[in-house]
Amino acid sequence: MEKKTYTITSSEGLHARPCSMLVSAVTPFKSEVTITYKERTANLKSIMGVMGMGIESGAQVEITADGADESEAIAKVDEIMKKESIGE
C-alpha cells in the first residue's frame, strides 16, 4: 500500500474540472485508489464520491493506492496534482 498527503491549492477546491482530471487519471489502474478527507474515505475512481466530499481549497487530503500497480498510480496522481496545480 502506498500513501501520499496533499494540500489542495486549486482555488476552487476539488471542483468538477480538477476532479475529472484525477478520476480520469486513476481509473485505468488496477489498484484500489482512495482519497481521505476529514476521516471520510471515497473511491478516487468515483467522481460523485470525490465531489460529494466537498473538498475545499486548503484542505489536507490523503491519497492511498493498494494493488499491483500502486506505485504507478500514486506517481500518476502526483503528476496530475502538480501539472494542473491542484495540490502539493
Binding site: A16, S24, K45, S46, M48, M51, G54
Partner: protein, 569 residues
C-alpha cells in the same frame, strides 16, 4: 391561423423558420419485482453503453460549436455515467430483486440529494448534471425517445419548456435560427446562450409548448419578445425587411468592437456595460465594453434560500474583476427594497416602497449583511480595477457612514493579514435630487459619481414610472433633469472627480449628444447598446455640443430639447 404569443425578448434579432419542438420525455418509473437480476444488469450495461456513445457525440459537437472549455462539462458527464459508486449502487438494488429503472432512479435520487444538501452553491448546481446524466440513462432503459436536436438538418426555431445544458450543446448553429422557451428570464441559461450564439431568443412565453405544433411556420422577434404563428405573407415580407436591416446594422457596427470610443474631434469617453451577473461578461466583451459601469449585485442574493456567504460573493467579484483586468469595474452594493424583494428576508410592507427602506438604508438597518458584502469586495479588490458604489445616498452623513464601515472592515482584514488593494475607489450612485443639488459638497469626499437616471427622473418628477397614467412625466430630457445632471458634472469636475451614468438614458441616442456636451465621462448601458452608441459618438463633436449647452439649459420643455438634438445630429 395567425396567432401571436409574447414573452421576454432576451436576444436581439429576427428569425423566420419552422418550429422544432424539443419534448421533455416521460420518464415515469414503475417498481417491478424481477426474477433474473443478471438480465436486468445486462440491460443496464447496454443502456450505459448507448448513453456513452451519445454523450461522446455531444461532447464532440459541443467542442466544435462552443470550444473545449464548454465541452469539458460532458467529459464530466461521462465520468458520472461510468461512476463505480453509481454502478455498484444500481447493481446492488437489482440484486435485491428490483428492475433496473427503479434501481437507477433510486441511486440518482440519492446522489442528487447529496449534492443538493451541500453548503456550497457550486456543488448544489452539480446536482443538475447528475440529473441530466441519469435522465439520459433512464430514457435508454425505458426505450423512450429523447428529441435529438443534433439530427436537425433544416432551418428551425426551437420550442421548449426550458433548455438543458446537454440539449443546448447539441444545437447546430447552422440550422437553429432562434428559440422560444416557456420558462426563464433575462439571466436564465437559455437567454445567455441566445446572446452568446447571437440568435434571437424569447423566453417566459408560458404557452408556446401548448400552442405551437411541430413544423408550424414562425417568426420570432427577439428584440420585443414577439412570436408570430403562421404569419401572413405580408407579415413575412415585413419581417424579412426588418431582419435585413437588423443584420446590416449589426455588420456595420462590428468594426467598432475593438476600437475605443472617440468623438469626431478626438475626445475619448468611456462606454461600459451594465451587467447583472458573471454570466453577462462574455456579452460585455463581445460588444467591446471599455469597462463595467454597473455590476448589480442583487443576483447574488436572489433565487436563493439564504444570504450569500462572503466566500460566494468573493468568488463572483473576483471573477468579474479578473475578467475585466485593467478596465474599470463599478460594483454597486446591495440595492433591494423598493420593487426588489428576497424570499428569505422580509422587508416591512410600506405605503411608498420607493421612498422607504431600500438600498443603503436597508443596509444600515442590517449592518452584518452589509459588512459581509464589503469584506468580500475588499478581498476581491486585489484582482482588478475596483470601484465600489453605494446606492441611494441622500446625505453626506450616509456616505460617510457607509465609507466608515468600509474602512473599518478594511482595517480588520489588514489586521488579519489579508491583502486589500490601495487603489480602489469609493463613490456613490447619484439618484436622489437632494444629492444632486449639493453635489459640490459630495464631490469633495467621493471618488466618483454615477448617475442613476431611472430613479433620478422618477424622484425629480415625483412620478412612478410604472404607473401608466403618469408615465408621461418620465422625461429624460426635461430641463429640470438636465440641469441637475449638469450641476453634478460641473461640481465633480471642479474637484477633479469623474462622472458616469448607468441608467437607460446613457444609451439613448436622443440624450447622448447633450450628455457629451455637458462633459459626462463614462456612459454605461446594456451590452447590446454599446456598439450603436460608439458609432454615434464617432459622428459627434464634443466641442460643438459643449457650445450648445448654455442654449439647451435655457430651453423650456423636453420637447424643444429633443427637437434640437434631432435637428443637430
Amino acid at each position: 391561423m395567425k396567432q401571436t404569443i409574447t414573452g421576454i425578448g432576451v436576444s436581439d434579432g429576427i428569425a423566420i423558420a419552422k418550429a422544432y419542438r424539443l419534448e421533455t420525455p416521460d420518464l415515469t418509473v414503475e417498481k417491478l419485482t424481477i426474477e433474473q437480476p443478471e438480465l436486468e444488469i445486462a440491460r443496464f450495461e447496454a443502456a450505459k453503453a448507448e448513453a456513452a456513445v451519445e454523450l461522446e457525440a455531444i461532447r464532440a459537437k459541443a467542442a466544435e460549436n462552443f470550444g473545449e472549455d464548454k465541452a469539458a462539462i460532458f467529459s464530466a458527464h461521462l465520468l458520472v455515467l461510468n461512476d463505480p459508486e453509481l454502478e455498484s449502487s444500481v447493481k446492488g438494488s437489482i440484486e435485491q430483486g428490483v428492475n433496473a429503472e427503479f434501481a437507477l432512479q433510486q441511486a440518482a435520487d440519492t446522489f442528487t440529494a447529496m449534492f443538493e444538501a451541500m453548503d456550497n452553491e457550486y456543488m448544489r448546481e452539480r446536482a443538475a448534471d447528475v440529473r441530466d446524466v441519469t435522465k439520459r440513462l433512464l430514457a435508454k432503459l425505458l426505450g423512450v425517445h429523447v428529441s435529438d436536436p443534433s439530427t436537425i438538418n433544416e432551418e428551425v426555431i426551437i420550442i421548449a419548456d426550458d433548455l438543458t445544458p446537454s440539449a443546448t450543446a447539441q444545437l447546430n448553429k447552422q440550422f437553429v435560427k432562434g428559440f422560444v422557451t416557456d420558462i426563464g428570464g433575462r439571466t436564465s441559461h437559455s437567454a445567455i446562450l441566445g446572446r452568446m450564439l447571437e440568435i434571437p431568443a424569447v423566453v417566459g412565453t408560458k404557452t408556446a409548448m401548448a400552442s405551437i405544433e411541430q413544423g408550424t411556420a414562425l417568426i420570432v422577434d427577439g428584440t420585443d419578445g414577439t412570436v408570430l404563428l403562421e404569419p401572413t405573407d405580408e407579415d413575412t415580407r415585413a419581417y424579412e425587411t426588418k431582419k435585413v436591416t437588423f443584420e446590416q446594422d449589426k455588420e456595420l457596427l462590428k468594426r467598432f468592437v475593438s476600437e475605443s470610443t472617440v468623438t469626431s474631434d478626438g475626445h475619448h469617453v468611456e462606454v461600459g456595460a451594465n451587467i447583472a451577473s458573471t454570466e453577462d461578461l462574455p456579452l460585455a466583451d463581445k460588444n467591446g465594453a471599455e469597462g463595467v459601469g454597473l455590476f448589480r449585485t442583487e443576483f447574488l442574493y436572489m433565487g436563493k434560500s439564504d444570504f450569500p456567504t462572503e466566500e460566494e460573493q468573493y468568488d463572483a467579484y473576483k471573477t468579474v474583476l479578473t475578467s475585466m483586468g485593467e478596465r474599470p469595474t463599478v460594483v454597486r452594493t446591495l440595492d433591494i427594497g423598493g420593487d426588489k424583494e428576497l424570499s428569505y428576508f422580509s422587508t416591512p410592507e410600506e405605503m411608498n416602497p420607493f421612498l422607504g427602506e431600500r438600498a443603503i438604508r436597508l443596509c444600515f438597518e442590517h449592518p452584518e449583511m452589509f459588512r459581509t458584502q464589503l469584506r468580500a469586495l475588499l478581498r476581491a479588490s486585489v484582482h482588478g480595477n475596483l470601484k465600489i458604489m453605494f446606492p441611494m445616498i441622500a446625505t453626506l452623513e450616509e456616505f460617510r457612514r457607509a465609507k466608515g464601515m468600509l474602512l473599518e472592515e478594511q482595517e480588520k482584514l489588514k489586521a488579519d493579514g489579508i491583502e486589500v488593494s490601495d487603489t480602489y475607489e469609493v463613490g456613490m450612485m447619484l439618484e436622489i435630487p437632494a444629492a444632486a443639488v449639493i453635489a459640490d459638497l459630495f464631490a469633495k469626499e467621493v471618488d466618483f459619481f454615477s448617475i442613476g437616471t431611472n430613479d433620478l427622473i422618477q424622484y425629480t418628477m415625483a412620478a412612478d414610472r410604472m404607473n401608466e397614467t403618469v408615465s408621461y412625466l418620465y422625461q429624460p430630457n426635461h430641463p429640470s433633469v438636465l440641469r441637475l445632471i449638469h450641476n453634478v458634472i460641473q461640481a465633480a469636475h471642479k474637484e477633479g472627480k469623474w462622472v458616469g451614468m448607468c441608467g437607460e438614458v446613457a444609451g439613448d441616442p436622443l440624450s447622448i449628444p447633450v450628455l457629451l456636451g455637458m462633459g459626462l465621462d463614462e456612459f454605461s448601458m446594456s451590452p447590446s447598446s454599446i456598439l450603436k452608441a460608439r458609432a454615434q459618438f464617432a459622428d459627434l463633436s464634443k466641442a460643438e455640443w459643449e457650445g450648445y449647452i448654455p442654449e439647451i439649459l435655457q430651453m423650456e420643455t423636453s420637447e424643444k430639447i429633443t427637437e434640437f438634438v434631432q435637428a443637430h445630429s
